[in-house]
């Protein structure tokens, strides 16, 4: 199991699938030279310029070309450099890709992937930091994947490429530099299967992407205070492994949902609504959400921190819910 960074895992996952299936082709801005986030390094050299194509700054054309190519039998992977740029091609994604199969009565499928860098935390500001998976969750017809570890990057990206429906993969830009083991050989995970990363009895923490690490850290701190937490990484929003969340919450009686995005409306609300409807009888307390501020992301460090989710805020929310004192930060020394 070699250790890869999350960004290397993107290249590795793409390479794995391109080697396996020559219908897999890439397109995006500056990807041929390795990409702005260095997530397509080496692929042009290995697979040639016909399969790794630079594009103009034309996200609508990128998304549309991916869709057309998928209709005609390729398996394109389009890069939308920052997921914020879905704004300029939202019609192609939400109104064309998501609906084409259905509205033609299933006359064709769209085996395509759109991937790019999502989320905040690096001071990129309001227009380069959004948690765009939530826009997509409003739109039936799109599968939504958001990996938290290098291994999951490879496994879920591979699954996305092999899937016959449009899959949006949201990589987290604040995780690109993180490292982790990736299984040797071909690695593929199923879509729609959440990972239970830690089992505990008192509360279920539901996380995705960046917030997985926050929840694991929070669980550590809570453990020191005698609170035992289950941590679930959803991995996918569509297909959603609601059963795993429901089963855990039925057992622990308490749920805290930790989402990076503004609380106004995001996937956390969707999970909370499912719990409030389907697990009501087993809930021993309110369904708590820890969300980002309802504000565009500011740049200055103390401001961005103020409006962002954090391990501290998760710990505080759980402590309040379970009515235990907030455990102090464990010293690393």
């Amino acid at each position: 199991m070699p250790d890869l960074t999350y960004r290397q895992a993107v290249s590795a996952g793409l390479a794995q699938e391109m080697a396996r299936d020559e219908r897999v082709v890439l397109l995006g801005e500056d990807i041929a030279s390795g990409g702005v986030f260095k997530t397509t390094v080496g692929l042009r050299d290995r697979f040639g310029p016909a399969r790794v194509r630079n594009t103009p700054i034309s996200e609508t054309a990128i998304a549309g070309a991916a869709m057309g190519a998928a209709m005609a039998g390729l398996r394109p992977v389009a890069e939308i450099m920052f997921s914020d740029f879905y704004g300029v091609c939202w019609d192609q994604v939400a109104v064309e890709m998501a609906k084409a199969r259905y509205m033609t009565g299933g006359q064709f499928g769209l085996p395509l992937v759109v991937r790019g860098a999502n989320g905040g935390g690096l001071g990129f500001g309001a227009q380069h930091s959004q948690a765009v998976e939530n826009w997509a969750l409003c739109v039936p017809g799109l599968k939504i994947v958001s990996p938290a570890t290098p291994a999951d990057v490879v496994g879920l990206l591979a699954a996305a490429v092999r899937d016959d429906d449009p899959v949006l993969v949201f990589e987290h830009k604040a995780l690109y530099g993180t490292k982790g083991p990736v299984p040797d050989g071909e690695h593929v995970l199923p879509l729609g299967s959440a990972a239970v990363l830690r089992e505990g009895d008192d509360v279920t923490l539901v996380a995705l992407s960046l917030t997985v690490g926050l929840c694991l850290a929070a669980a550590d701190r809570l453990a020191a205070a005698g609170v035992s937490a289950t941590v679930i990484d959803l991995r996918c929003l569509v297909p959603l492994d609601a059963a795993t969340v429901l089963a855990s919450v039925r057992r622990t009686g308490h749920a805290v949902i930790v989402e990076e995005n503004p609380g106004q409306l995001g996937w956390g609300a969707g999970i909370a609504a499912i719990l409030a409807e389907e697990a009501f009888i087993d809930l021993d307390g309110p369904v708590v959400r820890v969300s980002g501020g309802n504000i565009p992301l500011p740049v200055a460090a103390p401001l961005e921190a103020e409006v962002s989710v954090s391990t501290d805020r998760v710990v505080a929310a759980v402590s309040r819910l379970l009515d235990v004192p907030v455990p102090a930060v464990v010293s690393l020394a």
Partner: protein, 329 residues
Amino acid sequence: MTTGVDTALALHLHEQMVFIRRFEAKVDALYRQGRVRGPAHLGIGQEAVAVGAASVLRPGDRSIGTYRGHAHALARGAPPDAVLRELLGRTGGICAGKGGSMHITSVEHGYYGSYAIIGAHLPIACGLAWADQIRGDDAVTLCFFGDGTTNIGAFHEALNLAAVWSLPVVFVCENNHYMEYTPIADVIAVKQPAADRAAAYGLAPLCVDGNDVDAVRAVIGAAVDRARNGGGPSLVEAETYRHGGHSAADPATYRSTEEVAQWKLRDPLLRHAEQLCASGVSDGDIEAVTTGVAAEIERITVEALAAPSPSADTAWTDMWSDGSSRWRN
């Protein structure tokens, strides 16, 4: 128009145009009876573009169009009864009742669908052509859209991408001089919405009389040949006119009766019938085409109206590739 082969082809084109004209007139009538759900955008007056263009394609070539797409689907060979059933919301609809008039699609016949967001399908056309390019196939993609569509961003991005990647795609702008109710001249600063933009993508300005099916065949045919032989994309502007309103619900009072009358003199069917006569086809042979078409349309209409509605539970299929609409467990 002198050989027997030519005459047969000319008669075939005529039949197609007449068929589409009569089909759409029937749709208009059914719409007025309240039998068509949602909007219906007819292309009456524009038939020569769809028919002429389709006639230069081979099986395996691809075409793609808009909500004003009945003609383009039928010209490629989409079964008219299945199209009609789609419009009427009956079983056997070509999109299973899920698309309606604006989304007629017949992949089996190379027609990759009708799109109802202005400009959205131009980038998709690039993708279709890109797939053929990558595989080294010599198929060509034809993409139809209106004059008003030249002002949306997707047009610009698609044309540029097609040119830069030298894709085997021919963009055909049907310039019928109006967006919905607004004359195209009010919303562009050039004379010709497509041709005057071609140079921005390194392309030649290509214009054709869209009411002359032979001219359409010649110009689009040459563009298709060029694309097939690796010569890259073209942008063709075909000048035409819709006899009716933007959709079947639009009385089109924003146009003068003189303007409409003027254009009806240039009706592509009339003109083609005249040419047929001139080339020696008898009035009787031309009549026979019309009679045959009328009977066929009557037949499919009666059958379609007799067909039941699709059952409600079919709403839940065709969503994902596994056929289901399940998004969670």
